[in-house]
């Protein structure tokens, strides 16, 4: 098991993505707190896909670098894209009346974070967590 994915089509797929990534993290040997962090991050990403892009995909993959092991989560959609990336990464900014903690929260929950978005084309978010 080095790579798995869940298509996000309806709200229940968020639960499926969460479940998948939690199991994945558990199997790699992440502790309970990190499992919760990863699961929460996936939940945010999957919910963003469902909320803003309607559908997309969550991919989880095992990664290795310089002898350390970790996992990377890729959230990809072909939705409307994010108009103002800097704003979206700000705490408390939301276009949907939510808390606005989603993306900056994910960045804090995980170790590495990158976002690539183009208006009208879609969004790809890659975020990794390393085993310590």
């Amino acid at each position: 098991m080095t790579r798995s994915f869940v298509n996000i089509i309806n709200e229940w797929d968020i639960v499926a993505a969460r479940q998948l990534c939690r199991e994945f993290a558990k199997e790699l040997g992440f502790g309970i707190v990190d499992q919760a962090r990863i699961t929460t991050a996936v939940s945010e990403l999957a919910r963003n896909i469902f909320l803003y892009a309607n559908q997309g995909i969550i991919i989880v993959e095992k990664i290795e670098k310089d002898g350390s092991v970790g996992l990377i989560i890729i959230a990809e959609d072909h939705g409307p894209g994010i108009g103002n990336l800097a704003k979206a990464m700000e705490d408390g900014y939301s276009t949907s009346g939510g808390l606005g903690a989603g993306l900056p929260g994910v960045k804090r929950l995980m170790d590495d974070f990158s976002i690539d978005s183009e208006v009208g084309k879609g969004t790809v978010i890659k975020t990794a967590k390393w085993l310590r």
Binding site: W12, I14, V33, Q35, R37, T40, A101, P104, G105
Partner: protein, 277 residues
């Protein structure tokens, strides 16, 4: 034509069954092999063959009854749908091969037999599929109802104190229900303090937190106080990292601590009584 096929199946039942079983086991994917034990597999296979044979001998009514039972059984033991359809195809193949080995099917009547098989297996295939899906649909509907029954009741525990234990995932639908039950319950039980217990909630993300904050705010508007209890350590850590502000809620780590605090807020406490011996 049908008679010839039926006769062959009847006389070679054991051979077909054992061939079918071994071929299906080879084909069965990992998921399937893990789920089903040998005994269950044997039982279901026997049933499957009986079903197909009964399709030949019995009236339509008996067949559809048996089919229904079989489909329910298959859903129950968790046979994947593609395995069932594969099974029918394999069965078809085995009989065809067997019959050509014995010279019943020859080059001359090959076309005729193919047509005969199609006519026989086609409707059966359709019927098994439709029974299978309707059984699945019914299971899903029942589970949805069961899930709804699980969700969010407000339980009065002391005068003025109520508890709402939350278990499982909170989606938009449930969040709405939680809010409704909460407000109705607060008014109905004249609660002064409401404890929301999230021990059974696997994770708190920003949306769920948002719903909880909104629920607490509306409870405050109807004149009661809201307390969040059952926050596990790892949940506390993720809430802080996410940057969610729960200042508007009173929080306690266990339901017990929450109830003690709630009693205090309503000027009461639990005392032990000495029993005379």
């Amino acid at each position: 034509m049908d008679k010839k096929i039926a006769n062959y199946i009847k006389t070679h039942k054991e051979l077909i069954l054992s061939r079918w079983k071994s071929e299906m086991k080879e084909q069965g994917d990992e998921r399937f092999v893990r789920v089903v034990s040998n005994r269950v597999f044997d039982g279901a296979s026997q049933q499957f063959i009986d079903l197909i044979v009964s399709n030949l001998m019995e009236s339509n009514e008996e067949f559809s009854q048996r089919l229904h039972k079989f489909a329910e059984n298959v859903v129950h033991i968790g046979w994947p749908l593609n395995f069932v359809t594969q099974g029918i195809r394999k069965f078809n193949e085995i009989i065809f091969h067997g019959m050509s080995e014995e010279g019943v099917v020859t080059r001359e009547n090959y076309m005729e037999f193919t047509e005969g098989f199609d006519k026989w297996f086609g409707p059966m295939n359709d019927e098994i599929l439709s029974t299978y899906t309707s059984t699945w649909e019914r299971t899903v509907t029942l589970q949805k109802i069961a899930l709804k029954e699980l969700s969010a009741q407000l339980i009065p525990v002391f005068e003025g104190i109520s508890v709402m234990p939350l278990i499982g995932t909170i989606d938009t639908e449930r969040a709405k229900q939680i809010m409704e039950n909460l407000l109705h319950g607060v008014v109905k039980h004249r609660s002064e303090v409401v404890l929301i217990d999230i021990t059974g909630v696997p994770i708190i993300d920003t949306m769920i937190a948002h719903h909880l904050i909104q629920a607490a705010e509306s409870v405050r508007l109807v004149g009661a106080k809201c307390m969040l209890v059952g926050i596990r350590p790892e949940i506390a850590q993720t809430i802080v990292t996410l940057g969610i502000n729960l200042d508007s809620l009173i929080t306690k780590n266990t339901l017990q601590a929450g109830i003690e605090a709630a009693l205090e807020m309503t000027n009461r406490k639990i005392v032990g009584v000495e029993v005379e011996s």
